[in-house]
């Protein structure tokens, strides 16, 4: 086209047009929505000043095509697309809030090459620092931030699954007042009016109820508001609120403080009902599990640590402990008191009422602890009584651990408080009618508040309730105002990790539905009601940042690195007071119920997250429900079978839940996980599970006595992924209390285990003659393939490091677009996850050991699945990867049958969701979304391998421009599979086994390295590092490995 821009300027400008500004345009459009929006747009087009405005805004674009003046039609054509994208939101340009990408910053965005941005996921026990992968400016995958000390690059299940919440189609997309749609401007006006009214009384009727606030900015904003309204109050409430720990620190130190542990320095760890190895419900889990496991990898000179666990449930911590004692939660405090007496801390307590087994345990434990002064840690569980925390602190003091393996520092929340007491006070005020405005910032108190407080009724006595939340949940129904919130991936904020280190939460995408953050709501009450979160954030850190130099460049660095330096909590030098602690003992035959945070649903906030609903709970392998979990004997004594629905009465309130028998639980103790039984969670979560909050009162929030438990006569099917049924149940003495699966796993050499002493004597124990022999590689008629050249991908999984937390499982699901199939399909066995963590119970099922084996495609060099596919849809690459060609697969499922590891997953029905629009941006664009009738399995993240290969080849081309012989190979560590990247304990190592210096080659070179089922000559590329356990033989070992005389007492031959 020869038209030059200048020649085309024929806009018929009428004289003296009123000038329109962008601000006016915004205003005109902001009030409109839907049809009204388009109508206003049309009106605007006719407006004389608009063309000029357009021309000024988009000069080149708008004019170039208009050789006949700006016609309305052409304008609509051009602008239609971009306006449509602006859509419901006013067509605003993003204000200048620069977000800073982390590592790979190409000069222009290359579609297909992702960028990574550092941010943080706020979490009540401590934020998880993240790097989020952004494809074409939308977040698609969450990874950890390797630079941050709180995680060293790992994540947990909640962080991995949180991205699904961003795109959840059930999210609230609009604000409302009494059910009618309102926008922010209306809310702003309402609060302005309230502020004027409330100024007189100093805000006497104003209350803020938030979740645990770990954001320094938000805390300071709220405190500024409280200064403005001195009679207003702010309460924090979460159902999993660490109240025992907080109350105990007041008793011990007269102030709020939190212990921070240094596991790498501990030789002996005693966990008193503290599940610190299975998930972020324990503060600092990601870092602690790494530090703890570092002393069990046996790749340094440091001796192996020893873990004693006394617990009232079957957790992963207990499963991999060296010595374990199941004990009712109510009995652990007296137990600890006796221990404290033996170690010199606290006052001695009488040693009556404990059994011989417990006595033996205590003596050996005390001896071990005393032998390691200053190198031990005693932890009390958060769902235990405060007295246990006091005892634990006293024991730690007596053992000299304070300052060495434990330091006390500030709590992770900025303003620690007595949360249950505060809530009680708030509800009292609400019921008395004293409150005219209650601002609920996130959370769901109607569902989670203690049932005796009856928060729902209290809300009805408040004049106006405002609820900020991402979902229209139980609390929203009783609130007048609902402000739809933002997910952390779309917000500006900040958050503290477990050790106090602050990081900035930076958005990866503009709020999808124009939601609001707590910062904006609180700001409305302040003197600067229009403060944006970004300004609040920068304002706070400008004042409080402890780094010298120019703020702006510091801020950029903080965004880039993902952490703010010098913000870790300083150690406080505190010594605990002495004094006796005791609790009311529980009768031996009474049954207790223990409330615990759900390992995948937490407190109910993730009920609508399909990945987490379908994530098997560690050790239990239960999905989609909770259950009344009890031991074998308790169920047998009461005559309950698994899946019988029982009615549990606590203090006059009842709940009905199905029985689930969990091996290793103490007798007369029932555990209920919180977070289920909701009716307003969304399409995913509604109707699953049973609401344990219905019997959770503020008097006994964690451990309560069961008044009555009886069968209702109904049953309820539970979706348990691994079939734990015993063959030969009661009656056949040999199998009475053994798991056939676990015994078989040991017999089939899937699990190879030795004690630490034996390992030191015989490092090659994993290849003893006792085990099935691996066929020699060249014992074949055929010419074997030459795998010595090029990259050969392989993986090593350290069984000793796996804590069974499931972070890798969800990471794989997120990375590879794996579908969720729903409870009915899971019950049939059609779970679609490519990676699973198998749990094998061995030994006596009243107190078993459990081994965790992550199982994924082994990429066998001699894969049984390859020769049986009739269409050749599964083949082998020269680099050793067993490929799955989705478009060739016709679905005969012979490969599924022939895989001895059963890692292949088949799309029996159309499991992938092709329809829900909001889930489409979530998917990883580098991985196919599989349709029905197609087989799938782990690919060793071949998309990541190929991305690294492309990068290497491109760089090689550039290098060869100067040096023709230059080579640029993929370096070790450049390809990290999703599972490897997520694992907190670095249990999974992947890389090129032909590279002798790679971590994976070194791992496979270890004497403990073995493959699963290698005797059938599959030659798997995924190998395992055998377990080493360190039981205190004075107590004995509970592994029950058959035939291994050096490891057990009472082993079967």
């Amino acid at each position: 086209m020869e038209n030059r821009p200048e020649e085309l300027v024929q806009i018929k400008a009428s004289p003296k047009k009123p000038k329109l500004t962008l601000q006016e345009v915004r205003q005109r459009l902001s009030a409109a929505s839907g049809k009204k929006y388009w109508r206003s747009l049309e009106e605007l087009v006719d407006e004389p000043g608009f063309e000029e405005l357009l021309e000024n805004e988009f000069p080149a674009g708008a004019v170039e095509y208009q050789n006949d003046g700006v016609s309305r039609r052409n304008f609509m054509k051009l602008m239609g697309a971009s306006m449509a994208l602006a859509g419901m939101t006013a067509c605003t340009r993003q204000p200048d809030e620069p977000i800073v990408p982390y590592v790979k910053q190409p000069e222009e965005l290359i579609p297909g090459i992702p960028k990574f941005f550092a941010t943080t996921m706020p979490f009540p026990t401590g934020a998880i620092p993240l790097l989020v992968k952004s494809n074409e400016f939308r977040p698609t995958k969450i990874e950890g931030n390797p630079q941050h000390p709180a995680s060293h690059g790992a994540t947990d299940v909640f962080a991995q699954a949180s991205i699904l919440d961003l795109y959840d189609p059930d999210r609230s997309q609009a604000s409302s007042y009494r059910g009618e749609h309102r926008n922010w401007g209306d809310f702003h006006t309402a609060i302005d009016q309230y502020k004027v009214k409330a100024a007189a009384s100093g805000g006497a009727g104003l209350r803020f109820l938030s979740e645990t606030v770990t954001s320094p900015t938000l805390a300071s904003q709220i405190q500024a508001v409280l200064k403005k309204f001195p009679a207003a109050k702010w309460y924090q409430w979460e159902p999993i609120n660490r109240d025992s720990a907080r109350a105990s620190s007041q008793t011990l130190f007269g102030q709020y403080a939190e212990p921070v542990y240094k596991f790498e320095a501990a030789n002996v760890v005693l966990s008193l009902d503290a599940d610190f190895l299975s998930g972020s419900h324990f503060p600092g889990f990601v870092r602690y599990s790494r530090d703890f496991i570092a002393r069990r990898k046996l790749n340094t000179d440091a001796p192996m640590n020893r873990l004693y666990v006394v617990e009232s449930f079957s957790t992963t911590t207990g499963a991999l402990s060296d010595n374990r004692l199941p004990m009712r939660a109510s009995d652990i405090v007296p137990f600890a008191a006796i221990l404290a007496g033996m170690l010199g801390g606290g006052s001695g307590a009488a040693t009556q009422g404990i059994s011989a087994e417990e006595q033996k345990f205590l003596e050996a434990l005390a001896k071990d602890l005393k032998a390691n002064p200053g190198a031990s840690i005693v932890i009390a569980g958060d769902q235990q009584a405060p007295e246990l925390h006091v005892l634990a602190a006293q024991i730690n003091q007596a053992l000299g651990n304070v300052g060495k393996t434990i330091v006390y520092s500030d709590t992770v929340e900025l303003v620690p408080s007595d949360q249950p007491g505060g809530l009680r006070q708030l509800v009292g005020d609400m019921n008395a009618g004293k409150i005219d405005l209650l601002v609920i910032l996130e959370g769901n108190p109607v569902y989670t508040a203690p049932v005796d407080l009856d928060f729902q009724t209290a809300m009805s006595k408040v004049a106006t309730n405002i609820h900020l939340s991402c979902y229209r949940n139980e609390t929203t129904r009783f609130s007048q105002w609902h402000i739809h919130g933002t997910h952390y991936l779309e917000s500006w904020s900040d958050a503290r990790a477990y050790d106090g280190t602050c990081s900035i939460v930076q958005p990866l995408i503009a709020p999808l539905y124009a939601g609001r953050t707590a910062h904006e709501i609180v700001a409305l009450f302040s003197d600067n009601p229009d403060t944006t979160p970004y300004d609040a954030l920068t304002g706070y850190w400008r004042q409080n940042g402890k780094t010298s130099g120019d703020f702006d460049s510091n801020f950029r660095k903080w965004l880039h690195d993902g952490l703010i330096p010098n913000t870790a909590s300083a150690a406080k030098s505190l010594s605990p007071r002495g004094g006796a602690s005791s609790v009311q003992p529980l009768d031996k035959n009474a049954i207790e119920v223990v409330f615990r945070p759900d390992p995948t649903i937490y407190d109910g906030r993730y009920t609508n997250n399909a990945w987490l609903q379908e994530c098997p709970k560690p050790v239990l392998r239960l999905e989609w429900d909770n259950a009344a979990m009890m031991s074998l004997d308790t169920a047998a004594t009461k005559g309950f079978n698994q899946e019988d629905i029982v009615r549990i009465t606590v203090d006059g309130r009842t709940i009905e839940a199905p029985v689930m028998i969990v091996y290793g639980m103490p007798n007369n103790s029932i555990t209920l996980h919180l977070g289920y039984g909701r009716a307003f969670a969304g399409r995913v979560g509604n109707g699953y599970g049973f609401n344990a909050y219905a019997i959770r009162s503020s008097k006994t929030p964690w451990i309560a006595k069961v008044d009555k438990i009886e069968k209702t006569g109904d049953t309820y099917k539970l979706a348990i992924v691994q079939n734990f049924t015993l063959i030969d149940a009661q009656g056949k003495k040999e199998y009475e209390s053994r798991s056939v699966q676990g015994s078989e796993a040991l017999r089939r050499d899937l699990i190879r285990v030795a004690s630490y002493d034996e390992f030191k004597k015989n490092p090659h124990f994993a290849h003893d003659e006792y085990y099935l022999e691996d066929p020699k590689p060249h014992e074949t008629l055929y010419t074997p393939y030459d795998y010595s050249k090029g990259y050969q991908w392989g993986m090593a999984i350290d069984m000793n490091s796996c804590v069974g937390c499931n972070a890798c499982v969800i990471a794989c699901q997120a990375e590879n677009n794996s579908p969720v199939v729903g409870k009915e399909q899971v019950k049939i066995g059609r779970d679609m996850k490519w990676l699973r963590i198998d749990a094998y119970f061995t030994g006596d099922l009243h107190n078993p050991r459990a081994f965790f084996q992550p199982m994924l495609c082994q990429h066998c060099e001699n894969a049984p699945c390859e020769p049986v596919c009739p269409v050749g849809a599964t083949t082998h690459t020269p680099e050793g990867i067993n490929m799955m060609v989705y478009n060739r697969c016709v679905g005969t499922r012979y490969c599924l049958n022939n895989c001895p590891y059963k890692v292949r997953r088949f799309n029996f029905l159309l499991f992938s969701d092709y329809e829900t629009a909001s889930l489409k941006p979530l998917r990883n664009p580098d991985v196919t979304v599989r349709s029905r009738g197609v087989m799938e399995k782990c690919t060793f993240c071949i998309q990541r391998i190929n991305a690294a290969r492309i990068q290497a080849e491109v760089e090689e081309v550039h290098l060869q421009q100067s040096d023709p012989n230059a080579k640029r190979t993929i370096r070790d560590g450049e390809v990290v599979t999703a599972c490897q990247q997520a694992c907190p304990t670095e249990a999974i190592v992947f890389g090129d086994i032909n590279d002798a210096n790679s971590r994976v080659a070194k791992a496979k070179g270890q004497p403990r390295n073995y493959g699963a089922l290698t005797d059938i000559n599959t030659r798997p590329r995924t190998t395992y590092i055998a377990n080493v356990i360190n039981p205190n033989m004075e107590i004995g070992d509970r592994t029950g490995a058959p035939g291994k005389s050096y490891i057990t007492t009472g082993a079967e031959s």
Binding site: R747, V868, P870, C889, G891, L896, N897, F906, F908
Partner: protein, 471 residues
Amino acid sequence: MATHGLTDLPPSQRPYLTDPPVIAPGHTFASVTEKIMRTVLTGRTPLGWIGGVLLAFGIVNILMLAFGYLFWKGTGIWGVTQPVGWGFAIVNFVWWIGIGHAGTLISAILLLLKQSWRTSINRAAEAMTLFAVMCAGMFPLVHTGRPWLACYWLFPIPLTMGVWPQFRSPLIWDVFAVSTYFTVSLLFWFTGLIPDLATLRDHAKYRITKTIYGVLAMGWRGSARHWARYETAYLLLAGLSTPLVLSVHTVVSWDFAVSVIPGWHTTIFPPYFVAGAIYSGFAMVLTLMIPIRAAYGMKDFITMRHLQNMAKVMLATGLIVAYGYFMEAFMAWYSGNRFELYTFKNRAFGPMGYFYWFLITCNIALPQLLWLRGFRNSPVLLWIMSIIVNTGMWLERFVIVVTSLHRDFLPSSWGTYKATRWDYATYVGTLGFFTMMFLLFIRVLPMISIFEVRALLPQSRINSLAQENLQ
């Protein structure tokens, strides 16, 4: 008990001190032709037949519905899952193919072995084979996840993506085996039909009937030259079919034997499956022939001799199958292989153990009754036994497929299998299809080979199997 001598009784009432006759005495060429032809060239279709066809057709509709829903939703409507990736579909496939083998054995192998008693059952048995193979052939196609692609990608036509099928896979061998089997059986059966079609053409009353049979009879005039060529062709085809009896089910057994799964990976499968196929095939022939000979009055041609011979073959193959079971159990122990031993223990004593014991009862225990002459002499009891054997053989495939898969190498993957209504609907649907095809066959084609039975008569002076007409 009888006080008078045996020869005083009329021929039809004499208790035979030797085997019963192959053909009832007193027939001539004309009577044989007439009797057999009457079922085809009759103006009056029996009401029972119409009722039967309508019922079978109704069941075929269920089959169509089952397939329709299957293609609409996917194989997930069945009970297949992880780890049991194959269920009813493959069990039925193997069962139907197995049944087909009896027909070919009767037609081809017994011909080559000069067992002329085969002549009255071979036509129906071969038809049974064809229909059984048709039923069987549906399953490997529809049980795939994407049958619209499987229907041509499994054949060696490098159409899309320029790739051949993967020839190392036993499923491709199945494709060749089953298609070969069907083709050869069809040709063999049709060749055998030609002289009879000509007979029908010659006796047909209506022009349209004459034309249709005439076209199919391919101009057969019954001349000596025709007969000479015919016998050669027939023998050649029999020679081609004979190895198929052994090879087809061997290939099908390799679907299992080639895999690594304990319980599948065993070299006894080829002979064991072939024996089992003949076992179930003969049972199915009995199931079909006993009611039909009664309903259509064909007892003269399908005599007790035939039934007893088939019963004896069943007993023999049943014993081979029993040997197979025993060897599996023995080898599981003798091998010392942990996986094999567990698989066997699980098969017999695990959660699905009752299928195994039901199987042993149906396949080994009860068929021992066939040793009793009195048992073999009773058509009703033989018919019941044939149903039992067919049930047992279905269970055998079920036990092999499902119990081996549901608990294999990794204990964490142990699962279970529960058939859904669509599994049953599909299976019953194929039974309906088979019945419908068979009933149609009986109506439009002579169910007994007319010219071959005529060869049994003494008048034919070909062989002396027929009883002299004792007056």
